[in-house]
């Protein structure tokens, strides 16, 4: 994005909580929602004499995330202490990684330019660290309440290269990142719940210049759209400042969501001196190549790869695939239905239509949805064969959701089997023509457009069981 005069240069730092059962350095539960300070122990309370011991699953999930983002995982990485004082940081330092992080050098594709070129955002590094507790300022007057349940929960920090050039791209990057991490099943990645947090670094420069301008850091954005708005606001501020001959000062700014402005952070600390040094209570993290290869082999199919495959395997349009792959679970469900029924198009329609509607109504997830892919495939086949009509099919589906019974059984039980017997259909046609003499007369006289209405009457009379094709044919033949 440029105002003509300037280019926006943005790098994003994303912190993601890993969905382990226990904390990074102790066996306390990492779940949220518990009463304050119940998920604590000497280690995460930083009692004198306590020591950290690293959680294997945190390492595994962090490695999986790094590999899924295309990074190189370093066989040796070092933990380091980041020292600062804050009441919800019990040790007075955070165990993080500094000089030798877990992984470096990945990238994600976030879309295409107008001429079809891929837009890729580089990832500088992924490193492991622990979360701090929570400080609650408004609960008691004149006091801040500290809850250390979250202290010690494992995080990864994903640092992007300053490759992002617009607020929209920043949003696209975040959405892509979130989806990849969901597919990898390493985190709940919910900004609302706090398992995903974003900080931005932004600078401006004249287009064509390679040297980076002075960057500011923007924090306190609590949604992807807030990130976009904050970047646009700060870009405008920096551009105006440079335009007027001023210089951008390196500082930290906080996004004020209510007033929709960035304002300077009022801490008096200036630049922070974290006095990083290697964590002496932990030895280096050594990952052997074999173990890394196993994690790589277990990587699930990533969104991009899945989209490409669905397009080629099932001849679906990119837009349709885009919708299906928003959720990995839906994509899997669709694929199972498509393979079982052999009809990708119908599967797409039913999944995006009836299935999604039913899930929305019940509030449940597709993993616990009563109608399993094989069951839905059977229904699709019944409709395709003409055993039941499409309309009846919808009714059957509803009953399947309610009862969990298979399609064929419901159709039989409720007499929804399509009737193709000409004699029966002819009988219904006769009845309808007799019951609706005015429309009948007009239709038989030549008003073809009334055919649909009359077919509708027949379908209603037959409770959806008549084969609509035969009804049309019989009516048409009466009209001559």
């Amino acid at each position: 994005m440029t105002t003509g005069r300037y280019e926006m240069v943005v790098g994003l730092e994303v912190h993601v909580q890993l969905k382990t059962r226990t904390k990074a350095f102790c066996g306390c539960s990492a779940d949220f929602g518990a009463a304050p300070n119940v998920n604590t122990c000497p280690v995460c309370l930083a009692l004198p004499g306590a020591l950290p011991v690293l959680n294997e699953q945190a390492v595994k999930l962090a490695t999986r995330a790094a590999l899924g983002l295309g990074c190189t995982v370093n066989p040796v990485s070092i933990f380091a202490r980041k020292n600062y004082f804050y009441p919800d940081l019990p040790k007075g330092y955070q165990i993080s990684q500094f000089d030798q992080p877990l992984a470096t050098g990945g990238s994600v594709a976030i879309g295409e330019t107008e001429n079809g070129a891929e837009v890729r955002i580089g990832i500088t590094r992924v490193h492991m660290e622990e979360d701090a507790g929570k400080s609650i300022h408004d609960r008691y007057p004149g006091a801040t309440a500290i809850d250390l349940n979250r202290s010690g929960v494992p995080l990864i920090e994903i640092v992007s290269e300053p490759d992002i050039r617009s607020a929209a791209d920043a949003g696209a990057y975040l959405r892509t990142l979130k989806q990849i991490l969901q597919y990898l099943d390493v985190s709940d990645v919910s900004m609302e719940e706090g398992s995903l947090r974003v900080d931005a670094n932004i600078s401006v420069r004249p287009p064509g210049q390679t040297k980076l301008g002075t960057k500011t850091e923007v924090k306190n954005m609590n949604s992807f759209s807030a990130v976009e708005r904050a970047l646009e606001s700060e870009f405008a501020r920096q551009a105006a400042l440079v335009d007027s001959g001023g210089r951008v000062e390196q500082q930290t700014l906080l996004w004020d969501g209510e007033r929709e402005v960035v304002r300077p952070s009022r801490s008096k600390e200036g630049s922070h001196d974290y006095r990083y040094f290697p964590e002496p209570d932990l030895r280096p993290l050594l990952l052997d190549a074999h173990w890394i290869a196993l994690v790589r082999d277990e990587l699930p199919e990533l969104p991009d790869a899945r989209r490409k495959r669905l397009v080629s395997d099932f001849a679906l349009a990119p837009m349709e695939v885009e919708q299906l792959t928003t959720s990995p679970a839906i994509a899997e469900y669709f694929e199972a239905v498509a393979r079982a029924s052999g009809d990708a198009k119908a599967s797409y329609n039913w999944v995006m239509g009836e299935v999604i509607a039913a899930l929305r109504a019940s509030g449940g997830g597709v993993d616990s949805f009563r109608v399993r892919p094989a069951d839905l495939a059977q229904l699709l086949n019944l409709v395709r064969d003409g055993t039941i009509s499409h309309t009846a099919g919808k009714r059957v589906f509803t009953r399947m959701v309610e009862t969990g019974k298979p399609a064929a059984q419901i159709a039989a039980d409720e007499g929804l089997l399509q009737v193709g017997d000409d004699a029966v259909i002819a009988g219904w046609v006769d009845e309808v023509l007799a019951e609706h003499p005015a429309e009948a007369a007009r239709y038989l006289a030549g008003e073809k457009k009334l055919q649909g209405v009359l077919v509708g009457f027949v379908m209603r009379k037959s409770q959806g069981r008549a084969d609509p094709k035969r009804v049309n044919q019989l009516l048409a033949s009466r009209a001559g």
Binding site: P87, D147, R197, S265, S267
Partner: protein, 106 residues
């Protein structure tokens, strides 16, 4: 390398140690004297000496993702200076302190 009084006040701030004005002068002298003894290290040739902060060449041990927590044998209230409804209570952070907190972490 001599330590200045400004240095001492700055690092005292970083370490949250309240240092009085008089004590600052004394400390400046003491620390400068101690650091003078360290100068000898700058003349040591350490090319090729790897930096090790821990003895031993094994990696850090990993523990399973399960809860076997060495518990507390007394409730937190027995050691905490101020607790209320299960929270640790501290004086309300001033706006700039809160901002510092936001600056320091995600």
């Amino acid at each position: 390398m001599a330590v200045t009084r400004e240095d001492v006040l700055h690092i005292a701030q970083l370490a949250r140690l309240g240092v009085t004005s008089e004590r600052a002068d004394e400390l400046t002298r003491e620390l400068s004297a101690i650091l003078a003894h360290m100068e000898v290290l700058s003349q040591v040739d350490t090319a090729g000496a790897e930096v090790t902060s821990t003895v031993g060449a094994e990696g850090t041990p990993l523990r399973p993702d399960a809860g076997t927590v060495p518990g507390l044998s007394a409730p937190l209230e027995t050691v905490a200076p101020a607790m209320r409804d299960g929270f640790f209570i501290v004086p309300r952070l001033a706006t700039h302190e809160d901002a510092a907190g936001i600056e320091n972490r995600a």
